[in-house]
């Protein structure tokens, strides 16, 4: 059953920026720290509306993070955002000790994340932060799938107590959730029902997962369950266990390295509770490079095609018909057939 419909394109960063500006009206304790890229990460919306609660500290992400902690420990809800390459890594020690160990009420925006930041190239394409952030105690970690969900997620993390990180992107991407789509931190959304294979995705890859599911239905009559795992931590264990017990094989998809991200998180849950074959779609342990977002996601296998092929492999593995030696060839031939 289809519970979604594409309604144009808009960037997830717009959802983040708009949410902060709106929250500023109703949360007098909300402050935002800027580190020079405010017009890109769209904290500029908040700055324009609430200039007395916006503080630039320049290109100094480490200090920005701990200044936010100081604000939080003085009763504020403090938001800091920069490109994810710098707001998750440059300030890694600050995140670990001062944000997470302190359980400070700091919210970090990881903007321009993933390969789709595009022409800026590998230095700016953060594809590893889920692995690091997922290992930090006390941190809530979200990766919304579209503009509207980014807006809801931003509000949700600002309204909860404690540290949180939200990962979002630069380009306009399909909008397919609506005002009525629930967003509850830690509770995955099932966007499409099905019991042949479960596709668990986050961020940009959720839309690609939906496309893959339609193709699987159309070409093979396969009913794929599509789960939007918008909260990476705490992860929705029940949704994963249900998926593994009912579908008996899983494909994960994320705009992130195949190591340590959503795929890893899902595998940790199934390994303990309900082991099933899992195929992990993501960046294959490599850095990216310059290009347009659509070129890059094709090159690095972050589209519905990779998910589609991986679902067929996962189902074969489930049925015991999969020949390991054929794997690479098969995926290539599935691609050729599309």
């Amino acid at each position: 059953m289809k519970t979604y419909e594409k309604k144009g394109d808009k960037a997830t960063r717009n959802g983040f920026g708009e949410a902060l500006a709106e929250l500023g009206d109703v949360m007098p304790e909300l402050v935002v720290i800027g580190a020079d890229v405010t017009g890109s990460v769209l904290t500029s919306f908040f700055q324009e509306k609430h200039p007395d609660r916006f503080f630039s500290v320049g290109v100094a992400e480490q200090n920005a993070t701990t200044v936010a902690v100081g604000m939080a420990l003085s009763g504020k809800v403090a938001v800091f955002s920069s490109y994810s390459a710098f707001s998750a890594f440059r300030n890694a020690d600050q995140l670990r000790v001062s944000v997470c160990y302190n359980e400070a009420n700091v919210k970090i925006g990881g903007a321009h994340s993933g390969i789709t930041v595009g022409p800026d190239g590998a230095t700016h394409q953060s594809l590893e932060e889920l692995a690091f952030l997922r290992a930090l105690p006390n941190l809530t970690l979200v990766s919304p799938c579209d503009y509207l969900e980014a807006k809801k997620a931003t509000k949700a993390i600002c309204e909860m107590a404690g540290p949180a990180f939200i990962r979002f992107g630069r380009p306009a991407v399909p909008m397919f959730t609506n005002d009525d789509t629930p967003f509850i931190l830690g509770k995955a959304n099932i966007l499409r029902e099905g019991n042949d294979v479960a596709i668990i995705a986050c961020g940009l890859l959720v839309w690609q997962a939906l496309l893959a599911a339609e193709k699987l239905q159309e070409v093979h009559g396969i009913n794929a369950r599509v789960i939007n795992m918008h909260t990476i931590k705490p992860i929705d264990v029940q949704a994963i266990v249900d998926a593994s017990l009912e579908c008996k094989c899983i494909v994960t998809a994320e705009e992130h390295q195949v190591h340590g991200g959503l795929g890893g998180a899902v595998a940790e849950v199934t390994a303990k509770n309900s082991p099933v074959p899992i195929e992990i779609v993501g960046m294959k342990d490599t850095f990216g490079g310059s290009g347009e977002p659509f070129e890059l996601i094709e090159k690095y296998g972050l589209t519905w095609k990779e998910i589609y092929a991986s679902a067929l492999v996962a189902i074969e593995r489930k049925n015991g018909t999969f020949n390991k030696i054929r794997q690479v060839k098969d995926i290539a031939s599935y691609h050729e057939g599309l």
Binding site: V31, G58, Q62, G70, L73, K76, D93, V97, N102
Partner: protein, 293 residues
């Protein structure tokens, strides 16, 4: 030799005092440091002993507003020990201020203790404002607190922070200095414990951070260079800071306090080898004997 370690439950009030009284308090703090480190069997001796005079004036001289019976009192001033490894002096001060019983100093660094090796907010020791220990982060947090008070709440709370001088090798310190200067945080007092010692040797030899006065002035601070063991100097300088703040001078204050690591204990005096070690029993007996004179 037999040594019985006891912590007398004695609390000092936070009020104006004569210099001699501060020396007595500082020596009580030094004895607490030696005792707790001996019991811990590990930890940092030199730095905590070196800032005992500064801490006695700051906490027991009526400068820092706090209420040990209401640690989260919203009108309190803030003190951030950015050099978190100097935790033994902070714990001694908080105990002597009445935040918790002095007997708890015997638990330093032990399993289940609220007196963590470096201050931790998670164990909820009253009086601790933030976890610290990863150098440079504390002073940046202090800057954030000063901004919150001056620029958001627009109240008159003061924020004090102590960093080591070796700590200034961390780049984040200068990011924090840049921010404090730019925002004119006249409610912020940055005290540099200038003992010229760090684990590997003299700061000037490991990686020089000097000249300090010119650097902080260039970042927009009003800088005072003082003898960190001269009580009269410390009192006069903290008076200047509070006066400047009251006058809204629009500049943060930096106090470069010349101190000696291990001050008060002859065999630790100005010896960087005492940065990260506790005394053994014989050394503790000798130290306590010197400190009780």
């Amino acid at each position: 030799m037999d040594l019985k370690i006891e912590f007398e439950e004695k609390i000092f009030e936070n009020k104006r005092r004569s210099p001699d009284e501060f020396k007595i308090i500082a020596n009580t703090l030094r004895q607490d440091i030696i005792k707790s480190l001996l019991l811990a069997g590990s930890g940092h001796s030199g730095g905590p002993l070196g800032i005992a005079d500064l801490m006695s004036v700051l906490y027991f001289g009526g400068y820092l507003n706090y209420n040990p019976h209401e640690p989260d009192w919203k009108d309190r001033d803030r003190f951030i020990l950015s050099a978190g490894h100097m935790a033994p002096i902070l714990y001694a001060v908080l105990a002597r201020a009445g935040y918790f019983p002095a007997s708890e100093l015997a638990t330093l660094r032990k399993f289940g203790s609220r007196l963590q090796g470096h201050p931790g907010l998670d164990v909820k020791l009253p009086g601790i404002e933030t976890s610290s220990g990863s150098l440079g982060q504390g002073v940046s947090i202090a800057v954030g607190m000063a901004m919150s008070h001056k620029l958001v709440d627009k109240d008159s709370k003061e924020v004090y922070s102590i960093t080591g001088d070796g700590e200034l090798q961390e780049g984040i310190c200068w990011e924090a200095a840049m921010t404090a200067g730019t925002y004119g945080l006249d409610n912020f007092c940055w005290i540099v414990d200038n003992n010229d010692c760090q684990i590997d040797g003299r700061v000037k030899n490991v990686m020089s951070v000097y000249p300090l006065k010119e650097k902080f002035e260039a970042f927009g601070f009003t800088v005072f260079e003082i003898d960190g063991h001269n009580i009269v100097d410390i009192i006069a300088t903290l008076d200047k800071f509070t006066r400047f703040h009251a006058l809204r001078k629009g500049k943060p204050v930096c106090i470069i306090a010349k101190t000696f690591m291990g001050n008060g204990v002859s065999f630790m005096h100005d010896n960087y080898k005492w940065h990260g070690n506790p005394p053994n029993k014989e050394q503790a007996i000798k130290a306590l004997e010197e400190l009780s004179k």
